[in-house]
């Protein structure tokens, strides 16, 4: 075996271009899996550690404020083991000439969702001054020891910044339901002691935010409603609180990505290995026969060829493991701006080792299968097999003589050669189809997300400004604002949804107007007489059109039984809709929470109106949503790059394999008087044909793959629909065609170096 091993090493080096694709596929499969595992597992560990360390609450009850008696009743609920009551107020501050929004909480008991200082120290619950969240402070140039003046209820309160903190329930902090990605400069949070709240803000403890540790979210929701009645606003669970769920979902998204892509590359490694070994065996037929005649058994030779899989696959897998931390850190760095975690460490499990071992084993088995072609042959038969001409067959196209006879002889040869090498042709098609699917997915995922942004902010919501009202805004003030802005009123409340509602969802009640332009899957507008659910909620709760659902809206102790009139096709935010008329018919009072206007310029009298809590522009919302898409750009780019790489490598490898096999024929044609251009044209036509077939198959496959892939980014709040622009489709096609044709360059340069004399010499 010692000499066979030397032969193996020399063969690999001599034919390195043919083995490169196997190496690359093994390398990429391990790199993808391990690299992304480093990120997702690292994030998962960091999130888990953070959650455990801070005793992250399993749910947070939002209410208008509850009494000590009600709090005690909640404490005594059988499914509740811990309770930490807080009081939360919304303040504003003016920094660098701009209005900022600062949510201030009391620290609670610090037994649940404990606030940690960024230096790792606990906070002092009786402190003077304010603990400020780090990203808000950094973005606004605030430091420990600085003062900040906040405005609440028309009073200004000056507070000293005593430390920087992160809160575990705000790992992903947008600051407002109007935004889907963090706005760290505009939205912040802080903590003041109960004493500071009472003395400086003149607010007593009203317990409007209650952190809970419970064993079953679904049970306690109804139990709490019974206790606090119409003071109930919402129960945010870890799954519905986007401050937590977005971070957890991101772990799952990256994990899905790692599995999906590593499987693709493993499959390609199998095909590449099988094809390469078959070609190598064909080329080394005489060597095999000689070794057999020397006394090497077929089993030994099969094992010898399987070693190619083990060694090349092994080198690829080891290289993938070694380079993986680079990818892990690259992807992790791209996630840091979006999330607030106390530590960012990449972390690996043992699974990549098992995956690497599997890749090596799969490559070895593929090579072993490929090596079976000589099993059962005597040395004489093996020698003869190496000498006889390659067996040729007619192709189905020849049954159409009118067409076939018009095809030039060179192309006839190439067609028969391709159809006679079905696995090789399949590999070529897989290279084009797979490459196209990946490039389309790379572009399409961004298109789908951009489309979500454009659809949501521009089509589904077509206002220019959204004027959010305070909860105690009077009807006359609201009417004044509506008149002044020519606005349109909506009310958004939280509601539970039965059956199987899982957690509270936003319910939007629409007054007349068209600034909320969501439509059903049948392209119908929202009408009176029923409730409408977004598709994501309908799927999650298994509710269909015409089902009866029960809504329990916040700030009410009523239960509404309503028929589902339609399913809304909308990206975000996933919610429930009905008209004001339907709401009123159910005996509910319409209390607007926002006024939507198409006017960009808002009159000062509206801006300064005490009924106005905040004014949000659609443009801001859109830019904010785009920021989240851009955060994933590195992942899209990575998918595109690997798609291009896949096409080039697979087709280059095939071109290289078939060139070696055909060099004798090419040389013969050259001696007969064919010019290099004529021979190269044969390969161009052949390449174009495979690319064209691959393109025809690849477009629907790529779209299907994209539609599957974008769902991995779905969250409980956002649903993505596959969308690919014409420009992306054309660009994807051009990239893949160019990548495919780039192999012609390789063939051209090898044709130049083709030695006619040695290529046409006898096999022996």
């Amino acid at each position: 075996m010692n000499f066979l091993f030397k032969k193996l090493i020399r063969t690999v080096f001599k034919n390195w271009t043919q083995f490169f694709s196997v190496f690359l596929m093994a390398f990429l499969s391990i790199l993808f899996y391990t690299g992304l595992e480093g990120t997702w597992n690292g994030m998962k560990q960091n999130i888990n550690q953070y959650s455990v360390q801070t005793q992250l609450a399993t749910a947070t009850l939002q209410s208008t404020g509850i009494s000590e008696n009600e709090l005690n009743q909640i404490r005594k609920l059988p499914d509740v083991s811990k309770v930490s009551a807080k009081t939360e107020i919304n303040t504003t501050t003016n920094l660098n000439g701009s209005k900022r929004y600062l949510t201030i909480d009391t620290p609670g008991t610090q037994q649940l969702s404990k606030t940690m200082q960024t230096n790792g120290h606990k906070i002092d619950v009786n402190h003077e001054g304010i603990y400020l969240n780090q990203k808000f402070a950094n973005k606004n140039g605030l430091k420990k020891g600085n003062n900040i003046t906040v405005k609440f209820n028309n009073q200004l309160v000056k507070l000293k910044i005593v430390g920087m903190v992160n809160s575990p329930d705000k790992m992903y902090y947008t600051g407002s339901n109007d935004f889907i990605s963090p706005q760290e400069q505009n939205y912040g949070y802080g903590f003041v002691s109960e004493k500071t709240l009472a003395d400086q803000f003149k607010v007593p403890m009203i317990n409007n935010m209650i952190d809970l540790k419970d064993s079953d979210n679904t049970k306690i929701e109804s139990q709490i409603r019974k206790i606090i009645g119409n003071k109930y606003i919402a129960l945010q669970t870890q799954k519905s609180n986007i401050g937590i769920s977005t971070a957890v979902d991101r772990v799952g998204q990256i994990r899905n990505l790692s599995i999906l892509f590593s499987i693709i590359f493993i499959l390609l490694a199998v095909l590449a290995m099988y094809t390469t070994i078959r070609k190598i065996i064909d080329q080394q037929q005489k060597d095999m026969a000689t070794l057999q005649s020397l006394g090497y058994s077929n089993t030994t030779l099969s094992l010898y060829y399987s070693m190619y899989g083990a060694i090349v696959g092994g080198i690829g897998a080891v290289a993938g493991l070694l380079v993986a931390p680079v990818l892990s850190n690259f992807v992790m760095e791209s996630q840091k701006p979006m999330f607030s975690l106390p530590s960012w460490q990449i972390s690996y499990t043992k699974v990549p080792l098992y995956v690497a071992f599997s890749v090596i084993l799969i490559c070895t088995i593929s090579a072993l299968f490929a090596a079976q072609v000589n099993q059962g042959l005597t040395p004489a038969q093996a020698f003869r097999k190496g000498s006889i001409a390659k067996i040729s067959k007619r192709v189905s196209l020849e049954r159409l003589p009118n067409l076939w006879n018009k095809i030039p002889f060179g192309n006839r040869w190439s067609i028969r050669d391709n159809l006679g090498n079905k696995i090789q042709m399949l590999m070529g098609l897989i290279g084009v189809v797979g490459g196209l699917a990946l490039v389309m997915t790379g572009f399409g995922t961004k298109n789908s997300m951009d489309n979500q942004v454009n659809q949501t902010y521009g089509h589904e919501y077509s206002y220019a400004k959204k004027i959010n009202l305070t909860h105690d805004a009077s009807q006359s003030e609201i009417n004044r604002i509506v008149k002044k802005t020519n606005g349109e009123k909506i009310e958004v409340v939280y509601t539970s949804l039965q059956p199987k509602g899982q957690f509270d969802r936003p319910l939007t009640i629409l007054d007349s107007g068209s600034k909320v332009n969501v439509k059903t899957t049948n392209n119908e507008k929202i009408k009176d007489g029923g409730v409408y659910l977004d598709e994501g909620i309908a799927k999650a709760t298994k509710v269909k059109k015409n089902s009866i659902v029960t809504l329990s809206p916040s700030l009410s102790d009523r239960k509404l039984n309503l028929k589902v009139k339609g399913i809304i096709k909308s990206n975000a935010p996933q919610g429930i809709y009905m008209t004001r008329q339907t709401w009123n018919n159910e005996g509910m009072k319409f209390t607007p929470t926002s006024v939507l206007t198409i006017h960009n310029k808002i009159d000062a009298s509206v801006k300064d109106n005490s009924a106005v809590n905040q004014i949000v522009s659609l443009k801001e919302q859109k830019n904010n949503a785009k920021a989240m898409v851009n955060n994933l750009s590195s992942i899209f780019l990575m998918v595109q790059v690997f798609g291009i790489l896949l096409t080039i490598v697979i087709l280059y490898n095939l071109g290289s394999l078939s060139f070696t096999e055909r060099s004798r024929s090419y040389a013969t044609l050259e001696i007969l008087g064919f010019s290099r251009n004529q021979i190269r044209n044969l390969t161009i036509i052949e390449n174009l044909t495979i690319t064209a077939i691959g393109w025809i198959v690849g477009i629907p496959f790529g779209y299907w793959f994209l539609s599957r892939y974008v769902t991995t980014f779905n969250t409980s709040q956002i649903i993505y629909y596959p969308f690919l622009t014409k420009a992306s489709l054309i660009l994807s096609s051009l990239i893949v065609i160019a990548a495919s044709l780039s192999t012609v360059v390789m063939i051209g340069s090898r044709l130049k170096k083709l030695d006619m004399i040695s290529s046409t010499k006898g096999i022996e």
Binding site: I391, S665, E670, G762
Partner: protein, 233 residues
Amino acid sequence: MLSLKNVSKIYQNGSEVTHALNDVSFDIEPNKVTVILGPSGSGKSTTLNILGGMDRPTSGTVSYNGNLINTESDGQLTNYRRDIVGFVFQFYNLISNLTVSENVAISAQLKGNKYQKMTEKYLDKVGLSKRKNNFPDQLSGGEMQRVSIARALAKSPKVLLCDEPTGALDTETSQRVFKILKSSKNQDTAVVIVTHNPLVAPIADRVIHIKDGHLDKIINNPSPLEVEEVDWG
């Protein structure tokens, strides 16, 4: 017609220098069969490759009808191989995925539009019209070599270069091949056969002996034998 003057060919592999041909000069005449005879490694195949425009000499000149071909570009050499030369290989080098007639037609087509007629003519000449729809792997060695000859002749070459054309064939088949080759000489075409087999010499009009890269001797044979008249041993 085709003339080699003071042709030398040196192969260099690192520090190792091999003189494959040394100062070789001779002419190839039309309408004649020329046999280049020599043992293995004597330089006869190198000579054939230079004659066929497949290789260039290190020094000396190769000319066809007075035109130097050793200084021509790759493109001009391609034209030379296409228009002037026909090759017959020891191991046939048929294109496996083309049928017998397609293998011949692909060559005939290079010279013009009458390729179908030419294909039929030369397949008939080599006696393989009935096998025209077969693939090479369905033929015997002798049949493959006859296809190879038909392919070379279908271009109506001025020089037919044959490299050990019967090297892989039995005696009876070899005789059949030589008969075809001998009958291929005409007013325009010169047939050049490279071989190590001295039994072929009597059928040639001219025999060029090459030994260790040198021209050993040239023997003109005014009365060449017919193939059937040769004692093939």
